[in-house]
């Protein structure tokens, strides 16, 4: 039996004005377990807290009920008071007789009666309370950033600058991501390489950052503060520590017909390659799918020309195991496939290109050395048609497009159109739009400049059909404002393809038990207030893996994610919320229902040996709650069919006792 003390607060006249506090204290005296009951002017004041402390000592109280303001206001205060008097702080319950009683009811008898009932409910609950201790877990002071684009780079730099070691895992041979492929960046038109490559170099030289390039995460176990991650380092057949990045091998390799993915297949590279001049790490990689030596055993040219002796044809995939305290997903995006858009003749004509291909065509390091030339015949295009929303805002067919707005297309199309007109004033540039969406700092001004200063023809309407005829592209489109159908003979058609999350995001989310939306973007813990955290503790989101974003937004989100990671890693120990779910292993039948409803992936299953009455043992599958991951929502407790799952601090029997007390 508990020994409960009841403390009724007057809160000046806030409570005492409508409630007969003396009567409440008197009535609660007779409740089961109550051994002491009193009232005081201001319970939360030092004097009030002293009354509680003294009563705990004097009456050997095992639980206290404070009838006062909302627990959202002073629950912590009274928990600390109890703890200071040596009582477990979770043996404190608050009866909210201010916000939910004295302030909303006017008549003294009515208010007093309700206050007594609320007090009884709290007493009934405390009678069933058990002391709880928050779990503690250590924090591994190392962060993992998955993805080495601008989002991952910025996050890693910010964490590393704060003094914590960071590892970046990147599937490509170099970090840099999509931004490295871009030419200029809106709205200021500084060149992407000029602002990105210094950051890449900083990452390479930072003493707190390790880069695992050409690698991927293959397994993640553990929980916030204590992740065990296995990283697969794919064999690149070049020893990273020996290669100097001189590039001799990439010039001498006889296999010249490998589509260059960095230029989106618009030119070729060798089988041994460095993706681009400023690659980090600047180390060659052998493409095993094309290397003659690896396929037939006959060649070895690169090995002969390499003065550093870095080539290693015997290399195998390696696995690195590392512990991390926090994980940041920065897996980024890709433009969607244009295969389903036959009406734009993307697969029929080389001169129908996507915007990312256009970036490479105008980039000085691209396949045409920055000259805007038609991919088909290398001629200078005179009429260029840009089509926006290709696959974005497309609700008709999930296989074809995406229902969301890709957010960046309006701006980069304006940029492309403007730059084209700037460099080649003899070109006619048409942009077909549904809406022009430019809500960003200096964004709309940028778009208007394209129209007003550079003479880009913006036409409200959509292109219905593109058909190649001779060396022209016949573009048929509607001009909704003029009420006309337009027929344009274009030399080049540029499609603003929708963007989608990288394909690696879904398996990664499964490994992380992080949730995703239907479009495979990572879900944030709260859409407004916790935008860079995953609901799964210790997992953070950076960049386009969370939703379409431009570079300024990505960088600010990357910084925000980093600050959350730093906040986590700065702690030596994580103190959990002790009000977590707990499964009674004797009742659990291992059906997996609780694990399915848990939004945090806090529930795992293990086989445990049970002793049977006849002295045999039996293996049974049971649910185990990871207290460091559980946030205590209690969803599993209701889903549990065998009634094994309960929530500490809000146990079934406690809530039922409250119901009983109220319904008496």
């Amino acid at each position: 039996m508990q020994r409960i003390g009841v403390f009724v607060c007057h809160c000046g006249t806030n409570i005492a004005g409508t409630i007969d506090v003396k009567a409440v204290a008197e009535a609660l005296k007779n409740e089961p377990g109550v051994v002491f009951s009193t009232d005081y002017q201001y319970m939360c004041s030092q004097a009030g807290q002293d009354i509680i402390k003294n009563a705990i000592a004097e009456h050997k109280l095992t639980g206290i009920v404070v009838c006062s303001c909302s627990p959202r206001m002073h629950e912590n205060t009274f928990r600390k008071t109890a703890a200071a008097a040596g009582l477990n702080s979770y043996m404190v319950e608050i009866a909210n007789i201010r916000e939910q009683c004295s302030w909303v009811h006017k008549e003294m008898p009515v208010g007093t009666e309700k206050a007594i009932i609320l007090g009884k409910a709290a007493v009934a609950k405390v009678n069933l309370n058990a002391p709880l201790t928050p779990g503690e877990s250590p924090v591994t002071k190392r962060a993992l950033v998955i993805g080495g684009g601008i989002a991952g780079i910025q996050t890693a730099l910010d964490i590393a600058d704060a003094g914590f070691p960071v590892d970046i895992v990147e599937t490509k041979p170099t970090i840099g991501g999509k931004m490295a492929q871009l030419d200029k960046t809106f709205p200021t038109l500084d060149c992407a390489a000029c602002i990105l490559t210094p950051k890449m170099v900083e990452v390479a030289q930072h003493e707190n950052i390790r880069i695992f390039s050409y690698s991927e995460v293959s397994e993640i176990k553990g929980f916030v503060g204590n992740f065990d991650v296995t990283i697969k380092r794919r064999a690149r057949y070049v020893k990273e520590d020996l290669c100097t990045g001189c590039g001799a091998c990439t010039e001498k390799c006889p296999q010249k017909k490998v589509p260059n993915e960095f230029n989106l297949g618009m030119d070729n590279r060798r089988a041994i390659y460095i993706p681009f001049a400023q690659a980090v790490p600047k180390v060659a990689t052998i493409d095993a799918d094309y290397c003659t030596m690896l396929k037939t055993g006959k060649c070895g040219v690169c090995s002969k020309v390499c003065t550093a002796g870095a080539i290693d044809y015997q290399a195998k995939d390696e696995f690195v195991e590392e512990k991390y305290g926090a994980i940041v997903a920065a897996t980024g995006f890709n433009p969607i496939s244009m295969d389903k858009f036959d009406e734009y003749a993307y697969s029929q004509s080389k001169d129908v290109i996507t915007s990312l291909e256009f970036e490479r065509l105008t980039n000085a390091a691209g396949p045409t050395a920055g000259k805007l030339l038609r991919p088909s015949d290398g001629e200078h295009p005179h009429t260029i048609v840009f089509v926006q929303c290709v696959g974005s805002r497309c609700a008709a067919c999930a296989e074809k497009g995406k229902e969301y707005c890709s957010k960046i297309c309006c701006m980069y199309t304006a940029k492309h159109a403007m730059l084209t007109r700037d460099k080649y004033p003899d070109t006619d540039v048409y942009v077909f739009y549904i809406d022009v969406r430019t809500p960003g700092k200096a964004f709309d001004e940028f778009y208007r400049r394209a129209v007003e200063e550079y003479g880009v023809h913006y036409i409200k309407g959509m292109v219905g059909k593109v058909s190649p005829e001779g060396n022209k592209l016949k573009v048929q489109a509607s001009d909704l404002i003029a009420g006309k159908q337009l027929h344009i003979d274009a030399d080049l058609v540029v499609l603003a393809a929708a963007i989608e999350p990288d394909k690696s995001a879904r398996p990664l989310a499964t490994m992380l038990t992080a949730s995703m939306d239907t479009n495979d973007f990572f879900t944030e813990a709260h859409p407004k207030l916790r935008p860079v955290e995953s609901p799964t503790a210790g997992v953070f989101l950076s960049g386009t893996c969370q939703g379409p974003k431009d570079i300024p937004e990505t960088v600010s989100q990357a910084g925000a994610a980093a600050s959350k990671v730093i906040g986590l890693l700065a702690k030596d120990k994580l103190t959990g919320n002790p009000c977590v779910a707990h499964s009674d292993e004797n009742m659990c039948n291992g059906c997996s229902t609780c694990g399915n409803v848990c939004p945090y992936g806090a529930i795992t299953y293990e086989d445990k040996e049970f002793r049977m009455p006849d002295r045999t043992t039996k293996m049974r599958r049971i649910a185990v709650v990871n207290e460091a991951v559980c946030q205590g929502c209690g969803c599993c407790t209701v889903a549990c069919m065998s009634g094994a799952m309960d929530l500490k601090g809000f146990m079934n029997k406690q809530i039922m006792a409250e119901v009983d007390a109220i319904c008496k």
Binding site: S70, C635, I662
Partner: protein, 145 residues
């Protein structure tokens, strides 16, 4: 129960800690009156409310039970209120079948900013339940003292 010949319903309200309980507090802060028949039980999330609790309340003589949670999409625990919505749709239709009128049970989304909505909801709910009168269908007379 009858008070001076006038029927006063007994209402149990389950409020989630993050939105609705705070909404109820806000109603208090703004001194928005609602009937004292409403007694609030705090739960971490609306999805913590086991149908058992509701049945228990009716068994012990409650005349109406209302569940308040965060608005869909705003759940502190991401998805809890979606489970609540489904579970309660099922439970309430079963209760309706048992003769507990649909007006005696309700799920309402009240955010922490909607003190006025909380008070209005409670006023409306109490009015509807009062009109229905005493709930005798599920009350277990053995529980009466």
């Amino acid at each position: 129960m009858q008070v001076n010949g006038e029927f006063k319903p007994l209402i149990v309200a389950f409020c989630c800690n993050w939105c609705s309980y705070a909404g109820a507090d806000l109603a208090g802060n703004n001194r928005l009156n609602y009937p004292a028949e409403v007694k609030i039980i705090r739960v971490p999330c609306s999805c913590r409310v086991n149908p058992m609790f509701i049945l228990r309340a009716f068994q012990r003589g409650a005349d109406g039970v209302i569940l308040c949670g965060c608005h869909p999409g705003d759940c502190h625990y991401t998805s809890g209120n979606y489970y609540t919505r489904r579970r309660m749709a099922l439970l309430f239709s079963m209760l309706d079948y048992l003769g507990i009128e649909k007006e005696r049970t309700r799920v309402e989304w009240v955010s922490a900013a909607e003190g006025a909505k909380f008070a209005a909801t409670m006023n409306d709910f109490v009015e509807k339940v009062t009109a229905l009168g005493e709930n005798k269908r599920l009350e277990d007379l053995r529980c009466k003292k």
